[in-house]
Point group: C2
Chain length 116, copies 2
DNA sequence: CGGCATCCTCGTTGATACTG
DNA sequence: CAGTATCAACGAGGATGCCG
């Protein structure tokens, strides 16, 4: 009844893609609309310039984010979710809501077991 | 309007938890009902004994999976999602459906960009 | 401002062998 | 069958410095 998780299934590909430390957070941050590089960095607490650049480049390569550079000095670059990028928001939001609802008790259980 | 992703928000904790290589796949596999260790290993293609054990232990510690050992020889151990574990299925399924729907074009876009 | 290049460390994962 | 133990490899990620 349940498909086995074979090596090349799309679920695995997605996990490889969003399983890193920053991708989901960046997508969530961009959900509200286009933002500048520095603004994303400010909202995603703790991300380094390197990792933010790397994450955004990868999202761009996958067609989930578009990068717009304005020819100004100082430079101004904005990032925005594409149409496909926006469709990813719903499942990610479901994950976030689950996290808010259940993570506290999960962490509590983890602690309780660890003490023993 | 959008919450910044501060370091200790539940979303990050969840990502740390399910962002590894096997957790989501194991939870998905157990969604259909209790399974023996070897059966899970068979359905999750490529997982090593070590990683499967490690993943299951962590899920157990977090109260998402229960482990039942039957005193037999040879040993028989079954794993099953807890009530909380089952609540995680919906958001994960949403992710899987997105993957089936959109990952092909994401990968295609990635390829198309890479060639340039 | 928005990067890129480099170095380095640590944690996750994998391979292999052994066990109750 | 269902693990445990050990070792080795790899790569994500962080720190730092420089640049158009």
């Amino acid at each position: 009844m349940w498909d086995p998780y074979v090596k090349d299934c799309p679920t695995r590909a997605l996990l490889d893609r969003i399983g890193d430390k920053w991708t989901v957070l960046v997508v969530g941050t961009l959900a509200g609309g286009p933002l500048r590089f520095s603004e994303i960095a400010r909202r995603v607490d703790g991300v380094s310039q390197k990792m933010l650049t790397q994450t955004l480049r990868a999202l761009e390569a996958d067609g989930l984010v578009v990068r717009t550079q304005y020819p100004q000095i100082p430079p101004r670059v904005e990032y925005e979710l594409t149409a496909v990028g926006h469709t990813l928001r719903d499942p990610l939001r479901a994950l976030e809501e689950w996290a808010k609802e259940y993570m506290p008790q999960v962490l509590e259980h983890r602690e309780a077991v660890a003490v023993r």
